[in-house]
């Protein structure tokens, strides 16, 4: 198979992962502006919603500025060529309360996610979306926390439930390219469905890891405009598209319009461009979920401790995504000692 002609599917997570960067405060207007730009650029899938996905707006992980309904119906209006996607974590979202309305709002792609060792909680959600005739992908979050055999086993469950592709997420930006190569090639060997990769840039490896994934056989990639996402951000989408073009891969994305979209994102949406801050480096090294950056900084300040210590302590606890309540507990312990 001639790699140079290989088609890749790009998912733009600016309006979902980016929500982590501003405590889930993306507004209706910002969604409209960016969706219009991404749609003209020809991005295949635009993912929209609270950072932790459908139904996740809560005191635990942060309340979103606007409801899921507003976010999704607005995005739906401005996406014609591009498909509208959402991130869904069972345990946060339910079929009755969240998925059914999402179908009514016109969502095309349902990415059902679990922690990388808990794939069987996605069974009902995946099956439901399949019987509704929707495109479903499975997502394994914090995938650095499991070895390739466990990951393949979990991914296979999602495949058996009906997922059409499995996305490996490097939620804490912990991977180096060889880690990605090892895991993606193993999954590619053992699964029938396509593999995707979602990078975070905590150790400056967002683009390199994404390319390693493609070269190991992945055919889906996530990225965000200017890298706007949790922690140190994601693979910077317009850079990724440029590199992929140079390597001869087809993404169907118009480069100039993508570059425009990223500038539009910067002016309309992004308060501060993602950087690899000291705390981001630490969260990447300690393997802690990138979405914890803001609450860790806030709570570290409240309890007068070094946020880097807090990250390492959380890493030792092996916290998974969604456990923001533990941050306060660990902070208190550190401040007392």
């Amino acid at each position: 198979m001639n790699n140079l002609k290989k088609k890749l599917l790009i998912t733009d997570v600016t309006l979902r992962d980016g929500n982590h960067a501003i405590s889930h405060q993306i507004s209706q207007k910002q969604i409209a502006i960016y969706c219009e730009a991404a749609n003209s650029a020809g991005v295949a899938i635009v993912e929209v919603g609270h950072g932790n996905g459908l139904g996740a707006s809560s005191l635990q992980v942060g309340e979103s500025a606007v409801t899921d309904k507003v976010m999704l119906t607005t995005a739906r209006k401005y996406l014609e060529k591009s498909k509208l996607g959402i991130h869904v974590i069972p345990g946060f979202s339910t079929i009755e309360r969240d998925l059914k309305p999402a179908i009514d709002y016109g969502v095309d792609v349902f990415r059902i996610a679990s922690h990388c060792t808990e794939a069987d909680i996605t069974e009902r959600h995946i099956r439901f979306c399949k019987t509704q005739g929707k495109t479903v992908f499975g997502v394994l979050m914090m995938s650095h926390m499991a070895n390739k055999v466990i990951l393949a086993d979990e991914a296979r469950k999602m495949q058996d439930y009906g997922a059409e592709a499995i996305i490996l997420m490097d939620s804490s930006g912990n991977y180096l390219p060889k880690d990605v190569e090892e895991k993606v090639s193993f999954l590619k060997k053992h699964l029938r469905v396509s593999i995707g990769f979602h990078a975070h840039n905590n150790l400056g490896m967002g683009i390199a890891n994404s390319i390693a994934a493609i070269q190991a056989g992945a055919s889906l990639l996530d990225g965000s405009a200017k890298g706007f996402g949790a922690g140190a951000g994601n693979a910077q989408l317009e850079v990724l598209v440029s590199v992929l073009e140079r390597l001869g891969y087809h993404t169907n994305i118009d480069l100039y319009k993508m570059l425009d979209a990223s500038d539009i994102a910067e002016s309309a949406l992004i308060k501060s461009l993602p950087v690899i801050s000291t705390t981001s480096i630490v969260s990447g090294l300690s393997g802690v979920f990138s979405g914890y950056l803001k609450p860790v900084k806030r709570i570290a300040e409240e309890y007068n401790i070094d946020p880097r210590d807090l990250f390492f302590a959380l890493g030792e606890q092996k916290v998974v995504a969604g456990q923001e309540d533990i941050i306060i507990k660990v902070a208190k312990k550190l401040s007392n000692s």
Partner: protein, 355 residues
């Protein structure tokens, strides 16, 4: 018309029965036990036996052993009241008592939905191993046992559907990758081996069948077979979506044919033999989709390559059934068009579909 049996199911049974009526005579006056009785396979065996008793006066007694009595009574109410067909609640992994009069056993309890296997591989494998063991041990205490049919699975051939050729019974274990266990496949290989061991040590008469893909009433519409997905789309008045280019080849055998093949193998196969069961006539899924679409007055559109990702692997999952054809004079009695029409008609009724 047979008491309460769906007229068209009676027709199905009649059609399939007539193709093998001579061979099926051996079941006259006999007692049959089926484990895993409330699924697709068990339901069709019930219907066929009911037909043979009512239309052909064959006085066959049937015991269905399963855990889900409510589902059985719901799906087959006409049979639940029959005096020749009885449900025995039993968990095959527990201690089992088989009625002493049983002459034939069909052990189908070891093959639940592959998604159950996906989420609960441990429970699944335990059921397969312990359940098969329990049935075999209980069978040794029967005075009038003539044969046991062990229902295995096409999964024993490959865990990845990579074949480009039809699977024949000798082609075992060719596509295996030892790094990642395929629980469903291994569980079935284990149970086939266990049966062979039981034959050797306990002198039990056992034959094995490996079922491929089927269609027809009593399948759940969200079961993973593509044909059910097509019907589901059409019944929901959506375009029929095929994720790939539609050139994947599959074959489908209709439920009443399955029941007939199964019983003929049970009655006439020689000890220790293994048979593939299914249709060897492959069809491209895009053609199957067309057949499904044509069953609706408002013909739904068929969309190809609806998967956003390229999962094209053009795999083939077709059995080579020349062994069953030659040795047992079996063939397909219900052609693909009838199979599709009948399946669609069933689901339309189930879902109260209005044209």
């Amino acid at each position: 018309m047979i008491e309460n049996q769906n007229k068209f199911i009676t027709n199905d049974c009649a059609r399939s029965f007539s193709g093998a009526h001579k061979q099926l005579q051996s079941l006259k006056g006999k007692t049959l036990l089926v484990t895993g009785g409330s699924g697709f396979m068990g339901s069709w065996i019930c219907e066929l036996v009911h037909y043979m008793n009512h239309e052909k006066k064959m006085d066959i007694k049937l015991f269905l052993m399963a855990r889900n009595q409510a589902r059985f009574e719901q799906n087959l109410p006409h049979i639940a009241n029959s005096k020749n067909i009885k449900f025995i609640y039993s968990d095959v992994t527990g201690s089992i008592v088989i009625p002493k009069s049983v002459n034939y056993i069909v052990h189908a309890a070891a093959n639940p939905d592959s998604r159950f296997h996906a989420s609960q591989p441990f429970q699944s494998m335990k059921t397969v191993a312990l359940g098969t063991g329990s049935i075999l041990e209980a069978a040794t205490r029967l005075s009038n046992l003539e044969n046991i049919l062990h229902v295995s699975s096409s999964a024993v051939y490959s865990d990845k559907f990579e074949s480009k050729e039809k699977f024949s019974e000798d082609l075992l274990n060719i596509y295996r990758d030892n790094k990642l266990s395929n629980y469903f496949s291994q569980a079935n290989i284990y149970s086939e081996t266990l049966c062979a061991a039981a034959r050797s040590e306990l002198r039990l008469p056992i034959v094995t069948m490996r079922p491929f893909t089927f269609c027809g009433p009593y399948q759940s519409i969200d079961s993973p077979w593509a044909i059910n997905n097509f019907i589901n789309d059409a019944i929901n008045k959506r375009p029929i979506r095929i994720h790939h280019d539609g050139e994947v080849v599959r074959s489908y055998m209709y439920g009443s044919d399955l029941a007939v093949w199964l019983l003929v193998i049970l009655l006439h196969a020689k000890n220790g033999q293994i048979y593939n069961v299914g249709s060897s006539d492959g069809y491209m899924l895009k053609d199957v989709a067309k057949k499904v679409a044509n069953c609706f007055s408002e013909i739904p559109r068929i969309m190809l390559n609806t998967a956003l990702v390229d999962n094209n692997n053009h795999s083939v999952l077709i059995p080579d059934v020349s062994k069953a054809e030659k040795e047992l004079s079996l063939r397909i009695f219900t052609d693909i068009d009838t199979s599709v029409e009948k399946s669609v008609e069933w689901y339309k009724k189930q879902f109260k579909y209005a044209e």
